[in-house]
């Protein structure tokens, strides 16, 4: 191996080391696992309370995730505004798509049960694309949410409880799949 090749291998190894760092603290995954489990399970009991839970817990979870992610990046000594912007655009985009679906309920275009399924599908796509472009383990959460979308149409007893357990479990699994 020549000197130039050795030097390039060294640069490659250094960059690889930086890339293999975890993408965020485990607390973010745990927060969302709790929100998913509680938020989805509530739909089996009361759609109104479940909707209110998501309206409050969703934005709070988002802000908490942003704060925890930034604090973790600063502590780890690697901060990227570019990456932060990319994350924000993605999650705000997904949140906006969900809010834009809400008038379908107010305008009586679809029932609340059908709308929740549409939102579940939006979340599945959002998590899947986040897995491709931002945080790899979210890919599996996206797939789990897509499975949930299918499960909710086939499971008859407490379907949203199943969705909550599956999606919350996938989020916890993602926490352990994130490279550490």
């Amino acid at each position: 191996m020549s000197n130039a090749e050795r030097d390039l291998a060294y640069v490659q190894e250094v960059v690889k080391g930086a890339e293999s760092a975890p993408s965020g603290p485990r607390a973010i995954y745990i927060i969302w696992a709790v929100i998913y489990f509680t938020g989805f399970s509530l739909f089996d009991w009361n759609h109104r309370y479940a909707g209110m839970f998501w309206l409050i817990a969703g934005p709070i979870g988002g802000v908490a995730s942003f704060w925890l992610g930034r604090r973790s990046a600063l502590r780890a000594g690697a901060a990227s505004r570019r990456m932060e912007r990319r994350h924000m655009l993605h999650w705000i985009g997904m949140g906006a798509a969900i809010f834009m679906a809400l008038p379908l309920l107010w305008l009586d275009v679809m029932s609340s049960t059908a709308l929740i399924k549409v939102i579940l599908l939006i979340m599945a796509i959002g998590m899947f694309t986040a897995g491709i472009y931002l945080v790899r383990p979210y890919l599996w959460v996206g797939i789990a949410l897509a499975v949930c979308y299918l499960a909710v149409m086939t499971v008859s007893a407490l379907p949203w409880m199943v969705v909550g357990a599956l999606s919350g479990g996938a989020m916890l699994l993602a926490a352990f799949l994130d490279e550490r």
Binding site: D7, L8, V11, V15, A18, G77, R82, M83
Partner: protein
């Protein structure tokens, strides 16, 4: 033919930046081009260099205006953040292009 290849190599070598020739400085610039901003301790951890050697190399890049340093506090501890400047980014691109040319000529 051989004379032309020799000429090509020489012109590509002209594009190489002497400041980025040491592998540590090249690695530091590549890291900062990719990750935007990194602390001294993170750079030390990734490059596995001593404080003195890393500091001296960062200083050289800083003096050449390839890097910018910003001192802040994280958890009440002082932290030095390094960022690649537009000049540093341009120099790195030119250096990497020249390296690619040299490798291409040698491979041909």
């Amino acid at each position: 033919m051989a004379a032309k290849a020799g000429k090509d190599i020489l012109s590509s070598l002209d594009g190489l930046d002497k400041l980025l020739a040491p592998r540590l400085r090249l690695a530091l610039c590549v890291l900062l081009a990719r990750f935007e901003s990194m602390s001294f301790s993170r750079l030390k951890e990734l490059t596995r260099e001593t404080d003195g050697n890393l500091g001296a190399n960062l200083r050289k890049l800083e003096v050449a205006l390839y890097l910018r340093v910003k001192k802040t506090h994280v958890d009440r501890k002082p932290v030095s953040w390094y960022t690649l400047t537009a000049r540093g980014r341009k120099a790195l691109r030119r250096h990497l292009d020249a390296l690619a040319d040299v490798i291409g000529i040698v491979d041909d």
